[in-house]
């Protein structure tokens, strides 16, 4: 039980439905940027998306090939471990299910990898069943580089560091391996509703 902070009243969010805001989060209309390093700028001609690792045959798509796959537009709430949540964000992209279709694998985990060296790990089932996308559009516009464009992983049910910016592929793995922030003490799974911010939460 936390003691009362003398003189603190707080600013309730009148518009936010409490059922949509995980514990310890506040709602913002801004779209803050958090990255560990400079924003990479990869030309779309050079860009590919790959599925590698524990698969019979690695697969790869060029930017153009990716655009020719079925596109989905989804409206979801996103939750950053640094405490902000943004409700009703609209993204356009390709369901990870579409990319995994026809791939035989014994993997139980994925390690997403990005330009700039960023990685993040997730159970495979968390990117299956309509829960994850390779998103290249935000609010009807191409995704800005500082927000992860040309494309980022979108896994809105987990803290947003799992939605790797500048994503270039998924490595399917039989064994779990911590990604970038997970290796620096952030939670391995990152469920915002259980407030799994840091290792041990």
């Amino acid at each position: 039980m936390s003691p009362i902070s003398r003189g603190f009243h707080g600013r309730r969010e009148p518009d936010a439905e409490p059922s949509r805001v995980p514990p310890g989060q506040y709602v913002t209309d801004d779209f803050p940027v958090l990255s560990a390093g400079p924003t990479p700028h990869t030309s779309l001609d050079m860009w590919t998306f790959s599925i590698v690792g524990a698969v019979d045959e690695p697969k790869s798509w060029t930017w153009k090939e990716l655009q020719s796959l079925p596109q989905e537009t989804v409206t979801v709430d996103i939750h950053c471990v640094t405490k902000w949540s943004k409700l009703d964000t609209t993204w356009t992209g390709i369901s990870v299910d579409t990319l995994l279709d026809g791939i035989e694998t014994s993997a139980a985990y994925v390690l997403a990898f990005s330009d700039g060296g960023y990685t993040t790990n997730l159970p495979l089932e968390d990117v299956q069943g309509g829960k994850a996308w390779i998103a290249h559009g935000f609010g009807g516009e191409p995704l800005d580089p500082e927000h992860g464009g040309p494309a980022r992983l979108l896994v809105p049910h987990l803290y947003f560091w799992k939605s790797a910016k500048w994503v270039r592929g998924l490595e399917l793995r039989e064994e779990d391996e911590p990604g970038f922030w997970e290796g620096y003490g952030y939670h391995n799974y990152g469920d915002p509703w259980k407030e799994q911010r840091y290792a041990g939460d």
């Binding site: 003691p3 779209f31 560990a36 290796g183 003490g185």
Partner: protein, 247 residues
């Protein structure tokens, strides 16, 4: 890349406020005495949690301003006009109050001597806070790693730790440069514009000396500084960034 995982669980604890120091019109330093502090590394942050009398809670992250060697754990907080937690910390909190926090947090945006250098620290506004911890740590351990700090603020009055950072300048080892973007006092000798390619090329180590770079500030500032340094030939993998504020 060095990987040092945080050990154990980060539990909430109540730290007494032992001293409050106004730094500028908008910022205040809060010296704390957490009962169970495992120590931190320069550049890390803590989570602070406030609780209203009806149980409503708000959490935010704040950079640690003190060196690991300092007597107290110090946070320097800037009041955001539309903020929920920062106005309380800057205007309401009093000596003797207790503040709930947990940490230290963050394993990447930090410097310790084993990481080497030379060091280039680039601060925009209150982004100077974690970099000031690095400067203090550097001095406390009497590091010989060459260090350059470039600090961009709007006006001289908004420069946090002005005297301390000015005095940190020492011989060939530590260079501190300020740029004031909005207003300069008469006779100002420092830079007087927003960071640009020429300014950064002037202050930064040449790319072939492979400096380790830490940039902290508002997003636009960090994006600009990082993009320019990459275009000057700096290795993106040696540039660490921390950003705050709306886009």
């Amino acid at each position: 890349m060095e990987r040092t995982a945080l050990r154990g669980r980060l539990t909430w604890q109540l730290a007494s406020v032992v001293e409050l120091v106004p730094e500028t019109a908008r910022t205040r330093s809060i010296a704390l005495d957490p009962p169970d502090w495992p120590g931190h590394r320069a550049g890390q942050h803590v989570d602070v949690r406030l609780t209203a009398d009806d149980g409503y809670q708000a959490q935010r992250s704040y950079s640690i301003a003190s060196a690991p060697e300092d007597e107290h754990l110090v946070l320097t907080v800037e009041r955001l006009d539309d903020g929920e937690v920062s106005p309380y910390l800057v205007d309401e909190l009093r000596g003797g109050d207790e503040l709930e926090l947990r940490g230290p947090i963050g394993g990447y945006f930090l410097w310790e001597e084993s990481l080497g250098g030379p060091l280039l620290l680039v601060a925009g506004g209150s982004g100077v806070v974690p970099l000031r911890a690095i400067v203090r740590h550097h001095r406390a351990i009497e590091s010989r790693v060459p260090l350059r700090l470039l600090y961009s603020a709007r006006t001289l009055d908004e420069v946090i730790y002005r005297d301390e950072l000015t005095k940190a300048e020492s011989g060939d080892e530590v260079h501190v440069r300020f740029t004031l973007t909005r207003e300069q006092p008469e006779g100002w000798q420092g830079y007087a514009r927003r960071i640009d390619r020429e300014l950064l090329a002037d202050v930064a180590w040449p790319a072939d000396e492979r400096p380790l770079v830490y940039i902290c500030g508002p997003t636009g500032f960090v994006e600009t500084a990082a993009d320019i340094l990459v275009s000057l030939g700096h290795d993106a993998a040696r540039i660490r960034t921390e950003r705050f504020g709306p886009t």
